[in-house]
Symmetry: C2
Subunit: 309 residues, 2 copies
Amino acid sequence: MSKILVFGHQNPDTDAIGAAIAFAYLQDALREETVEAVALGNPSEETQYALDHFGLKAPRVIKNAKDDTENVMLVDHNEFQQSVSDITDVNILAVVDHHRIANFETANPLYYRAEPVGCTSTIVLKLYKEADVTIPKAIAGIMLSAIISDTLLFKSPTCTPEDVAAAKELAILAETDYEAYGLEMLKAGTNLSDKSANFLLDLDAKSFPMGDKNIRIGQVNTVDLDEVFNRQAELEAAMKEENNKKGYDLFVLIVTNILDSDSELLVVGDAKEKIETAFNTKLENNRALLKGVVSRKKQVVPQLTEAFA
Amino acid sequence: MSKILVFGHQNPDTDAIGAAIAFAYLQDALREETVEAVALGNPSEETQYALDHFGLKAPRVIKNAKDDTENVMLVDHNEFQQSVSDITDVNILAVVDHHRIANFETANPLYYRAEPVGCTSTIVLKLYKEADVTIPKAIAGIMLSAIISDTLLFKSPTCTPEDVAAAKELAILAETDYEAYGLEMLKAGTNLSDKSANFLLDLDAKSFPMGDKNIRIGQVNTVDLDEVFNRQAELEAAMKEENNKKGYDLFVLIVTNILDSDSELLVVGDAKEKIETAFNTKLENNRALLKGVVSRKKQVVPQLTEAFA
């Protein structure tokens, strides 16, 4: 019997890991094949906090899929440049996601479930209900953690009423006070002081083809913007090096204050004027404060995509 | 209040029209906006037979979407070259489909529901149930017709147990003997003798980018292969002209005998040897008989895609 691997995007966040664990458990219950959740990187401190809290092991990290299997399922992403390195060599059976669709194609029909909600795990909860499969407490806990993470405890504009309802339902199954737990989990991910510049850049970064440019967009959460911008020179040097090494035309780092729900951008590379167009702002010292901006997906990527179109 | 248009692919078949009518009715019931089913071409004789049988009007044919609205929903297709001419200028809110995904992208997250079943209308039935909306008799009838059409009355290898179950459920709602009605409807689509060669080529044709080639694949159903191949010279001349005029590298016409469930290919253009590779056959007089082949999607497109990869 062949195996099926389920994984989220590179530089996994809590939803990429949590939705993979939850969707793999569901598919394993429904299918004859063994379905295993894996990851394209190690968990962040936030994710590790959530895994530890609910007594779950971090999924095994894979470098490619073909060594294990021909058949994969993607959660929390679809764009190939965010996926496993050999994604074009394997058969994609299913995708569960809440992002735009781009740079994605298959040779065969597949199961694809995307909804414009705040978190993949909100959709996975729906799939459990449709299949009438009971969610174990620990899995409910990691799904809850994913929703808290993606919506910044419901404060992100990506958060929908469905996400809030899903989180409350999962909190009951996980026997968890979601507000107290959620704030502790988010804070666990903002311990940045002892991290290298490269670590911060890579923590939650994705690549996006826009027009003929290759844009890298990273995001770090903090409870104090100064803690990050005190290291601006060091970060800029590392961003410049990444651009040169990986061929990015532009590196955008979104530094988000999760308490105030604002973000400040740090920008290195070509076409910086597109940033000014996209956000109707002026860069000063390569920086721009964006009030009320916390969501890369909803408040940064579409605006930049349009500016580069 | 803005309007939303719902449509299937160019050269609409019964599912492209039927699923558009059914999904538009559902979305209209669920949303504040007016949701209208439209079409990218006139109904075939088969589809017209089904519309007449259930007392439905053919959807209005549109040339572009932007004149009506900013917001559209696609059924039974996703590839842009099969969609409305200005698809990249409008906002795609939702897709319901059962094909491979290719040449499709959006700037924003959307609702995307694809399942590897035989017919879009089978998925639309599921969406009615999830939303708990009652299906009117005529709409159940056109959905039933779509499933019969796409699965050739359950004989196509694309047909899944879900399609059969959906058809039987819809047949009860439509108060229709699906076997007797289904055969009559399919036969209504095989009246080819009084049609021009160009009409036959365009009846159910789609374009597919494969490798660096642009492949056109048409399909006609018949109860007598000779009736079509008696006109081979005329068809070849028309295919050659289409290739020249529209820039297709290869034109493949699948002539399917719906009684025997076999197909014979007629092939005009470059790279004909790829046909031989894909189907492990030899073309004779530009023709190849493929026993048991009735499905473009499952038995022709993936094989050709691989041969051109």
